[in-house]
Structure formats: C-alpha cells, structure tokens
Amino acid sequence: MNWLDILVQGVLLGGLYALFAAGLSLVFGIMRLVNLAHGDLIIFAAFAILLAVSTLGLNPFLAALLAAPLMFALGWALQRFVLNRVLGKDILPPLLVTFGLSVALQNGLLEAFSADTRRIPAGPLESASLDLGIVTVGWMPLLTFLSAVLVILALNRIFYATALGRAFRATSDDPVTASLMGIDPKGIFAIATGLAMVVVTVAALYLGMRANFDPSIGPARLIYAFEAVIIGGLGSLWGTLAGGIIIGVAQSLGAAINPEWQILAGHIAFLVVLLIRPRGLFPRAVD
C-alpha cells in the first residue's frame, strides 16, 4: 500500500465521519443541544434499513428512502415530546436524558437483534472498484464521500436559501425574538431534529453497507462525529467535512503503521487540533 493510496482511503473514510457528524452539528447549531444518543440513533437506523432489506427484499437505497421519513417522524416526536421539555439554561437535563436514551436504545437493539454483527447486503457494489490510474478506489467509499458532499450542499441550501433555513438561523440567534415573528421555536427544533434524523439515515445506510455493525458500536460513532464537529469549528458544515477528513486520514495513517493504532490515531489528531486551535479550524464569527 503506498502513501497516496492511504491518503485517498483516509479522505474517503472522512466522508463517512462527516455524515455521522452533520446531524449532530445541525442540532447543536440550532438549539445548542448535544445529543449523546446520536451514535445509537445511527445504529438504530441501520437496523431499520437492514430490516426493510431482509423482510421486504428491497434494495438498500430504496430501503433507506423508506426509512428516512420514519426517522424524520421519530426525530420530530423525540424533540417535541421529550427533548423540548428539558431544553433550557441548564445543560444537565438534556445531557442526562440523551444519555439515558443512548443506554436504552443500545439495550433495546440488543434485545431485538442480539449482539451478532450484521451487514446491509449491497450486492456487487460491495467489492466494485474504480481504477483512477494512480490509485484504485472502491465504489462504496467513493459513493459515501459523494453523498457526504451532497448532504452538506443540501443542508447549506436549506439553511441559506429557504424560508425554513431563515427560521432555523433566526431561532438559533434568538428564540424569543423569533417567537415574536410568529415562529414557534419548539416547532422549529422538532423539524431540525427530524432533519438530523434524515441525515442519520443516510449515514446509517453507508455505515451498514461498508462494514459490520452491532448494537454496541453507537457510542464510538458519536465520538467520531463529535471530533469532526469540534475540529471543523462549531456551526460550520464544510468545517465538519474537513474535520471528518482529518480523522479519516489520521486513522488511515495510523492503521498503515500498526492496525491497533487506527482508532487511537484519530483521537490523537483530534486532541492535537484541540490543543492548537481550540475553536476548530473554521470557527463561526458570531457564537
């Protein structure tokens, strides 16, 4: 394996981490809520897609299309009926509620699907690759990365070119004044969490097709997502992509030196960025 190859694989892996992170970043940006169950929700969505594939015999992409509105509804209801009730000045209640949700989800999935590792079957796509001359890349990693770019483009478009996005930004700035504009901040929060769950579904699709998963791996995805968000700078979606890429490349380099160091190398890259740029690489001017 040559260095260029390692670098390219790392960048493409970063796309997956950016997908993990985009939903987290969206929710934090709008309501300053850190959802500790984010990783477990990704695994939950992966099982939902797997279920649709195995019972209805659907193509994984179609299954994800089916799961997305359901995940939106789940996110909307979670925010509306649970998280909105604990949002406030004190950061403790939402953290503890989402932590409780994380543990409950993990163990609920364990009961429902056992601890066996699963994979969403993607047919010939799993092993198909593309020869780019200097490097050969798998279609799956490439598709993941392109999807991450598309998701971020779409989210940016929603944020800056639609009335909903305007309401997102206004509510993020000042929920009380937004309510004086006729906007219901809690309704906006519910839509934002619903939207984050749609992104989670996309992340789950690629997570499940690329590698094995089981109910216990959610927290680690949360940590990667979190690292990508912090490296990128809070509130910047393109920064989040950059953060994902940095972790992906670091892991890829670490694994090339010693397979046991893959995960550790990603964490260390995060700590180094935190050390030299505490506000991330692309911090937002106003916080």
Binding site: R166, S172, M181
Partner: protein, 234 residues
C-alpha cells in the same frame, strides 16, 4: 375593543411588576404608554405579546382571551412587536430580517418589501448586509419594517428612541404618520414623553406597576404628567 388588558397582574417568579393594569386600544388608534424606568411598561408589552404568559382573560384581542397564548400564536393573530433594543437576527441580512417578519403571517395589506424600502430608502441600499452591521437608527428601521411585514392589525413599539441621537429619532418618528394612515393601531412605549405625545391620540402614564394617569394626548397638562410620572403632588 381591539385590544385590552383587564386587571393585568404580572411579574417574574416571586416579583410582581404589574398590579391590576387596565389599558385599551381601539381600531386605528395610537396610544402612548409613558413612565420612568421600572414602571412596568416593558412587562406590559411582554404580557400582551405572550413572551410573559398570564391568565387567559387578562389580555383580550377582539374579545378573545389571549393572555395565556404563547408569543408565536399572539403574533399570528396580527399583533406585531418592535422589541426593545431592536433584536435583529445577526445571522440574517437586512432583507432576510425583513422577510422573516412576514414569513409566518402575511395578511393582505399595504406593506411589502417595496413599500418598506420606500418608507426607509436607506435599507434598500444595505439590504445584503448583515442586519447587525447597520447603525443604531438603521437597525431600528429594520426592526420596524420587520414588524410591518406581516401587515399587523396592532403594532407594539418598545422604546424605539432608546440610545439614538435626536436627529435619528426624528427620522424614525417621521415614519409614524404613514404607518398610522394605513389603519394600523399602535401602542408606543416611550421614556421620551414629547415624542410619544406628539404621535398619540391617548396616553397612559405608569408608575410602580400601576396606571397613574389616562388622558387624551392633546388635552393633558405637563403638570398632570409630571405628577403621574414621578408620583409627586402637582
């Protein structure tokens, strides 16, 4: 009656700021609420807009109890607010700040982006700038325009002259007659008594959470206001 408060008693937790306040506003009327700092003027507006929620029948709109409605539903009934300190959204441009005012509720009426740019021409030049990059007076114009974008029935203005230079205040108040002419009912909360009286039909003076004077703006004497404002014998 278009809008009224009945025995409005409101406050923050243990602390009461209003004690039985009765204020009415008729169609197409402009009413001034004056009073010193801490008289309860802002609490009155917060109670009307639903930022502060009270017993339902303490605030009536067209006879309907709205005292317990959340702010966004009050606004959707056609009661728009120019908040104290302008409160423009920093992440939004001038034009987006204006648009968001009419995004949820847009009744048929005279106010559009064009007519607001006509009212405050400087805003058209700066429409792509972030709202908070403007001068204080220009920001106040955006805040007024933002509230007008919904074509409200009632416009509530909280201390729109606060912190602005006299010449800027004059420019802003110059727009008031044009807003009134469209049939909008207005409540102006002010510390600047002269300005408030000049645009109003009636005036309420508040002190320590109570209404101490109600009068027609054209007929009220300086000494009566002085007494009601500071609580001294005239």
């Amino acid at each position: 009656m278009l809008l009224e408060t009945r025995a409005l008693t409101a406050g923050y937790g243990q602390f009461n700021a209003l004690f039985g306040v009765d204020v009415t506003l008729d169609k197409a009327e402009t009413v001034a609420v004056i009073g010193a700092n801490g008289a309860g003027k802002s609490t009155l507006l917060r109670s009307i807009t639903g930022v502060l929620r009270n017993a339902p029948d303490m605030v009536l709109h067209r006879g309907d109890p709205i005292g317990a409605l959340p702010a966004h539903l009050v606004m959707q009934r056609g009661i728009a607010m120019v908040p104290e300190g302008r409160k423009l959204f920093p992440s939004l441009t001038v034009e987006e700040n204006l648009r968001i005012g009419g995004q949820v509720r847009r009744a048929p009426g005279p106010w559009t982006l064009d007519t607001i740019y006509d009212l405050f021409p400087i805003l058209k030049e700066k429409r792509q700038m972030p709202g908070t990059a403007l001068s204080g007076g220009q920001q106040q114009m955006v805040a007024i325009g933002r509230a007008l974008m919904s074509n409200p029935e009632v416009l509530l203005c909280d201390e729109i002259s606060l912190g602005l230079a006299p010449v800027v205040i004059r420019d802003i108040y110059a727009a008031m007659p044009r807003i009134k002419d469209q049939g909008t009912a207005i409540i102006v909360v002010e510390q600047d008594i002269g300005r408030a009286l000049a645009v109003s039909d009636r005036v309420y003076c508040m002190m320590e959470g109570r209404v101490t004077l109600t009068a027609r703006a054209a007929e009220v004497s300086r000494s009566a206001i002085h007494a009601a404002y500071f609580g001294e014998a005239a």
